[in-house]
């Protein structure tokens, strides 16, 4: 655990991407199996110990530390694991030779909700504060050390001088501690055999299209346009193994297996294939009746579930709107140009049940002006914007310049008044960086009130954050733990993608992707927008 906790700590304090890569690569080279594999699993978020939850740790602390002192400390630090690691009342001295990562993983895997509160303290007592931090992070997931799964895989590739896309391909068919992956990369063994496993293929992604590029360079003739549907990007994979049993899995954008959340999709593919599409639920918002997809809001209630009720399956049935064919009945089509793959996809449609699949249609336009016109019309249909795909491009993992573009419509804007501010987490734990803002429920000069309509924590610079933090501290009216209510003095121009009705909020509205667009230091608060302006934008 010593090397692992030191790695986590140095990662926390290092901002340079190259230095992070070098540190992880060093660790992976110097650490024996299976410790390094577990560490890699931890960094990529692949470890799960169902017996230990963040609440397990909180409850342990509740029994040992005064609740007021705990919550004051937790607010100050901004991270439960770190606070617990610092406040843990150590019983005896930490071990001279702390347990290995493997030993810790074995112990944690064996825990359940009943045994965890008894066993976890023994483990915590064996470690010092940094070790405890590493242990709690490991046990509860979510490292938050500024390392993405992609960065960790890149570091792996760098450590052993292999191709990162190969690592991605094998990755999703393997499990921690990735012994086969290390044997291949570090010891020159044959690559892991993944042909019979329903594994994830890295997605092809798009760059945003800037207006400047539209004016010069990008010729619409070379591209096909499609709507950018507002669901979640998925990959549906079906593979039949040696014994003739077919297995289907559904993967999210990041390669997470989300099959359990959408069981209705798992028996609908009649042949082995790897398909790329947008998962949505049935409804009449996106693309009107013809489009047949509900708003993202409707999809959201289906996300992140381990089991799905019959009621939910009936009320919000999912389907996939297909974009692309990567592999079809054993044939890898990824090297083929888009046009060719599109042809295969169109032919395939007749063999798929229309209840669960449809085809993302091509948007025809004479030129960019015409396309822009069509795109603006999409506002009414609550679609995110357009995708442009190069007709002769193969399917290439990652974001390669010039092949795919996303052309989002401009965001909606509204002027809101800052009402509450909350301290951030991690790096921002001493700053009031999360802002709740509201609109007037009538004429502010005739006694109207502000009602909160959203919350945002991005869209401003570090210098602006400092200024906002100062304003919050100077204009505080009330304190509620980490939240401060402030005097109504500041107007934010808030950008957002769409707005939906919501029972959870007093204003009856919920914004999607709100972020601070501009800080209107100059604008008097009574000139901020009224609720009715926001209501008029609702599309549910």
């Amino acid at each position: 655990m010593k090397a692992f906790s030191t790695l986590l700590d140095t990662l926390v304090y290092t901002t340079s991407r190259n230095r992070k890569l070098a540190m992880i690569a060093d660790y992976l080279r110097d650490t024996p199996d299976p410790d390094r594999g577990w560490a890699l699993g931890a960094l990529t978020g692949e470890l799960d110990f169902p017996g230990v939850k963040s609440s397990t740790v909180r409850n342990l602390m509740k029994d040992r530390v005064d609740p007021v002192l705990w919550s004051l400390s937790r607010d100050f630090v901004g991270d439960t694991a770190e606070t617990a690691s610092l406040l843990w009342p150590q019983n005896g001295e930490p071990d001279e030779n702390p347990p290995s990562v493997d030993e810790v993983v074995q112990l944690l895997s064996g825990l359940n909700r009943n045994t965890a509160p008894k066993e976890l303290p023994k483990l915590l007592d064996r470690l010092d504060a940094n070790g405890r931090f590493a242990l709690i992070k490991l046990a509860t997931g979510g490292m938050r050390v500024g390392v993405s799964a992609r960065l960790a895989k890149t570091a792996f590739a760098q450590a052993f001088d292999v191709n990162v896309e190969d690592v991605e391909e094998y990755w999703h068919a393997l499990e921690p501690p990735y012994t086969e992956l290390f044997q291949w990369a570090a010891e020159g063994a044959d690559p892991p055999d993944v042909s019979n496993r329903p594994m994830f293929r890295p997605f092809m992604l798009a760059h945003p299209l800037e207006d400047a590029q539209v004016e010069k360079g990008v010729d619409l003739k070379d591209y096909a346009a499609e709507w950018k549907w507002d669901g979640i990007r998925v990959q549906l994979v079906r593979v039949t193994n040696e014994s003739g049993v077919a297995e289907t899995r559904l993967y999210s954008r990041s390669g997470d297996d989300i099959s359990a959340s959408f069981p209705e999709m798992l028996d609908k593919l009649p042949m082995d294939a790897v398909l790329d599409g947008e998962l949505m639920v049935r409804g009449a918002v996106q693309g009107g009746e013809e489009g047949g997809a509900a708003s993202f809001n409707a999809l959201q209630q289906r996300l992140g579930r381990k089991t799905v009720s019959k009621k939910m399956l009936a009320e919000a049935p999912a389907f996939v709107r297909l974009y692309d064919t990567l592999i079809l009945e054993g044939e890898d089509l990824r090297e083929n140009p888009w046009e060719h793959r599109r042809g295969s996809l169109e032919q395939l449609m007749g063999r798929l049940p229309s209840s669960h699949f449809d085809l993302s249609r091509i948007v025809e336009a004479r030129d960019f002006d015409h396309l822009a016109e069509i795109r603006e019309g999409a506002r009414e249909d609550a679609i995110e914007g357009l995708m442009l795909k190069r007709r002769d491009a193969p399917y290439i993992a990652g974001r390669k310049v010039g092949l795919w573009y996303k052309w989002k419509r401009d965001p909606l804007l509204i002027d809101c008044v800052l009402m509450y501010a909350q301290r951030g987490s991690g790096k921002r734990s001493s700053f009031y960086s999360d802002y709740t803002f509201g609109c007037w429920n009538g004429d502010p000069d005739a006694g109207a009130e502000l009602l909160p309509v959203g919350k945002a924590y991005s869209g401003f610079t570090d210098a602006e954050l400092k200024k906002l933090d100062r304003l919050v501290r100077q204009t505080t009216l009330n304190r509620f733990g980490p939240v401060r209510e402030v005097e109504r003095t500041l107007v934010f121009e808030v950008a957002f993608d769409s707005v939906h009705s919501s029972k959870r909020h007093k204003s009856g509205l919920a914004m999607r992707f709100p972020r601070i667009h501009r800080i209107r230091w100059d604008k008097p608060v009574h000139e901020a927008d009224r609720l009715e302006s926001l209501q008029s934008l609702v599309r549910d």
Partner: protein
């Protein structure tokens, strides 16, 4: 006879000693000030009579008379030196005794006695040994007015030897480069240097220009800091493999570009919390504080064992809670303008 302790009156800008017409560490200019130590949030310029230790007065002199641009325009005060252990009689029959606080050079607690009642105001203090200043002395009293800068149970400062070890091994690991240590110019910088010397590091240590005068002042008061050089007099090559000390504000400043491949360190009690170190772009956090940590704050209250504890500034809520849990009377004074982030 007036109510008990009515002669001592807290205001947001300072504690008033009513019969004497004097204030302790006032945040605004007053006729008569009792100053605990030289940090800017306690020692403001522009007072009339200023009672403080000779060391504190020398520090104030350096800062306000010859001082930096932002102090310009302050009216010079009238210095009234008080030695450690010395008791002075203030108007209205109040006796004031200056007692070492262990915070920085010249720092003191002030014991006030009037009508048989004893009040101690700590200013800022720490309990750890520090080669650059006299150690804190526990002084029994009725009202103990304490700071609480690190008044959360998560703050436990490790032994300074461990932190010096981290610093020296970072230097070893970067022999062609340098380690840049952010340290508050008054107190922390000199303590880090003195501790490095105590740990056997005899190489020249390089200083940011803003550190020089205060280091010289410490040396004049008998604190040996070894060989010190100014960054501005040297090339990158000269400084390879060296420790450089600068004020925290210079860490992420363009100034640091003149150093050979620096690892950025910071010496502060706040470094206990990862988010704080990250906020400042610190790669090597050194948990070194000139304030009492949680255990020392609570131990000190137990040892002093006052009838009532007043808390001037810092994380007063948590310390109040501790007093409540331990059946001790306490109140928070909500002092303004105290505690600069850099000075922990």
């Amino acid at each position: 006879m007036s109510a008990p302790f009515s002669w001592i009156k807290p205001h947001p800008w300072g504690v008033e000693v009513v019969p004497a017409g004097a204030f302790i560490d006032p945040a605004r200019a007053v006729d008569k000030a009792l100053v605990t130590h030289g940090h800017a949030d306690h020692a403001r310029g522009g007072h009339g009579e200023t009672f403080a230790t000779p060391e504190t007065l020398a520090i104030m002199e350096l800062r306000y008379r010859t001082g930096a641009a932002d102090d310009a325009g302050e009216i010079p005060h009238k210095a009234m030196p008080v030695e450690y252990g010395e008791t002075i009689r203030l108007p209205g029959g109040v006796d004031a005794t200056y007692i070492p606080a262990g915070h920085v050079l010249g720092s003191s607690q002030i014991l006030l006695e009037h009508a048989g009642e004893r009040v101690v105001i700590t200013g800022d203090y720490k309990r750890r040994a520090d080669p650059t200043c006299a150690p804190f002395e526990v002084t029994p009293c009725d009202i103990f007015i304490t700071e609480a800068t690190f008044g959360l149970p998560l703050f436990t400062h490790p032994p300074i030897g461990e932190e010096m070890g981290k610093l020296l091994s970072a230097l070893e690991g970067n022999p062609e480069g340098s380690v840049l240590v952010g340290a508050y110019a008054l107190g922390k910088a000199q303590r880090v240097i003195a501790e490095l010397r105590a740990a056997g590091h005899t190489d020249p240590i390089y200083l940011h220009g803003a550190m020089e005068k205060m280091c010289r002042l410490y040396e004049e008061h008998g604190v040996d800091l070894g060989e010190l050089k100014l960054v501005s007099d040297h090339s990158k090559d000269d400084m390879a493999g060296s420790i450089v000390i600068a004020p925290p504000s210079a860490l992420n400043d363009r100034w640091s570009r003149r150093l050979p491949n620096p690892v950025t360190a910071m010496a502060s009690g706040w470094m206990r919390v990862r988010g704080r170190a990250r906020q400042r772009g610190v790669e090597l956090p050194l948990i070194i504080s000139d304030h009492a940590d949680w255990n020392e704050l609570t131990d000190t209250i137990r040892q002093v064992n006052p009838i009532e504890t007043w808390i001037t500034h810092g994380r007063e809520e948590a310390l109040l809670r501790w007093c409540e849990l331990n059946q001790r009377r306490a109140r928070a004074l909500a002092m303004v303008g105290r505690e600069e982030e850099d000075e922990g």
